[in-house]
């Protein structure tokens, strides 16, 4: 099912690229330079093949079928839960809820933990650098459930302001801290372990939004002692339509269900229903079967490369990119966090980010431009929008050079 060449100690980016069919495409007559992986990553052949194998050879609905196809498909799908548990080092596979994406995972916690366990008068603490998906669910919880919404500051360097975190925790009212593990705009990591420790000392639980972090760095939820952790499959080289919510068993057990329907119940009568045990209690309806099979292949693909090699590669790229971009007159990189990953937001004097993106696109280079679903962070830095280049395992130094050269051209153009 997977014929990827074994990638060992030496990180061979060309061998990796060869596993991504899309990377040989051309865009507007130029070879595609895809620097928008933070929005969604491309898919390696191993993922495509796992999904095709299921559709062509082994497919049926899962969990309730007694026949061969259903049993085999159930095994293949449930193996995704095992893979995700291993990937995050969860204590048990039952602590893995399979969702549609990070957004659904966060909404699930806002609903089932927020409405189900938290009390009016308590507070949720987020930060200025959250993605809308980690803002809006808490606003909805605030408006529906009388919970206060607090916002920790971000420093000028683009790091989470830990003094601000501590100050917000001081009165003991915060019941849940929901903070990103890595900013999708600035590339900054947050000090997750310290956040968890501080929060726990103040009696708060912690949800970490690992949509970006889990793609670039080994995450160990037990070492972090995170209460909840979410990530999304499509950014981890997997398919769309699937994400992962990790939750500590004791919390998941206490939480009421989220959506109702088939598969999340144990028995149903019109008077009342009994919920299935965790994690199925949180998984209503036919699950994302093909997507689970694809995500498992993606996780295994990432594990085969290994985070040490991938991180080293991405760190080198990021350093190179920061050096090249900073050298271009008129380019300003937003944020200069100590601990950062391969996501770089920048502005160009006298040129709007959208024009920059379009002109780069004209040269075959895909970057994102806009508020990156983080309007409050834009406001924090007094900006409407930035251009953003983001890197993945398949990104090369040459592509970053291409970006720098194209950007120089754009600058001359607008000068």
């Amino acid at each position: 099912m997977n014929d990827a060449p074994p990638v060992t100690a030496a990180f061979d980016v060309q061998a990796i690229r060869a596993q991504f069919p899309i990377l040989t495409e051309t865009v507007r007559g130029r070879p595609l330079v895809f620097l928008d992986s933070a929005a969604s990553a491309q898919k390696p052949r191993a993922v495509i093949e796992a999904m095709v194998h299921a559709m062509e050879r082994q497919y049926a609905n899962v969990h309730r079928g007694l026949h061969w196809m259903s049993e085999r498909t159930t095994e293949a799908y449930e193996a995704c839960r095992d893979a995700a548990a291993r990937f995050l080092n969860a204590g048990s596979r039952d602590e893995i809820v399979l969702t549609r994406n990070s957004t659904e995972g966060i909404n699930l916690v806002a609903h089932s933990y927020g409405r189900g366990v938290m009390r009016a008068g308590q507070a949720v603490l987020i930060s200025e650098m959250e993605h809308h998906s980690n803002i809006v669910p808490w606003q909805m919880l605030r408006d529906a459930h009388g919970v206060e919404l607090r916002v920790a500051r971000v420093t000028e360097a683009g790091e989470l302001d830990m003094d601000s975190v501590a100050a917000h925790l001081a009165d003991g009212k915060v019941g849940l801290v929901a903070i990103t593990h890595m900013s999708n705009v600035l590339g900054s990591y947050t000090p997750a372990e310290r956040i968890v420790r501080l929060a726990h000392e103040a009696g708060a639980r912690v949800l970490l939004d690992g949509s970006q972090a889990a793609v670039h760095r080994k995450v160990d939820v037990q070492a972090l002692d995170a209460d909840f952790y979410v990530f999304t499959g499509h950014k981890l080289y997997g398919p769309t339509g699937i994400g992962v919510l990790y939750g500590k068993a004791e919390l998941l057990d206490r939480m009421p269900p989220f959506l109702g329907g088939g598969d999340m119940i144990s028995t149903v009568s019109f008077e009342r229903s009994e919920w299935a045990r965790v994690p199925h209690k949180f998984e209503a309806g036919t699950p994302p079967i093909l997507e689970g099979i694809g995500l498992k292949a993606a996780i295994e693909w990432v594990e085969r490369i290994g985070f040490p090699a991938m991180e080293a590669h991405e760190r080198a790229l990021t350093d190179h990119a920061l050096a090249r971009l900073s050298a271009i007159e008129g380019v300003t990189v937003i944020g200069r966090a100590q601990d950062r990953g391969g996501v770089i937001s920048f502005t160009l004097d006298r040129a709007h980010a959208h024009d920059v993106a379009t002109l780069l696109d004209r040269q075959g280079i895909a970057v994102r431009a806009g508020h990156h679903c983080a309007e409050p962070l834009m406001r924090r830095f007094g900006l409407d929008s930035t251009a953003r280049a983001s890197f993945a395992a398949y990104t090369t130094r040459t592509e970053i050079d291409a970006l720098a050269e194209a950007l120089t051209r754009v600058r001359t153009f607008f000068a």
């Binding site: 040129a351 709007h352 959208h354 002109l359 004209r362 834009m378 929008s385 051209r409 153009f413 607008f414």
Partner: protein, 156 residues
Amino acid sequence: MSEAFEELRDLYQEVILDHGRHPRNFRRLDGALHAKGENPMCGDKVEVWLKLGAGERIEDAAFQGRGCAISIASASLMTEVLRGKTRDQARSLADAFRTLARTGACPVCDAVHEEDIERLQPLAGVAEYPSRVKCATLAWHAMEAALKGEGSATTE
């Protein structure tokens, strides 16, 4: 200009760069029809003022706003071509321009709007960049909102 730069020109023609950098009629008009336009997806914002004169013809048009070169240039060009138009002509021109921006051409407009469409032609290149079409049409939506007496328009 090198070949590399030539490529960039197919959308960003000199007219657009010029109007983007030096927008015309970039001012407020007191006592005029007025509306705001906003594209929340990209943050572009524009305000449009229209002063009607004799025969309900547009005597003066002006705008202020911030956004990308496309949206500013489009607003600037718009204020120029609107002068002397009746309400109906302005609306019909807006329709024609939207067709131009969406499809890159406006075969049916030639008869009526030939001259104006020719001035706006430099913006036809956005048709190749669907997500930028809204940048080009934002000011036009605001203009129509102003004519209708609505305070705002959005191109979400």
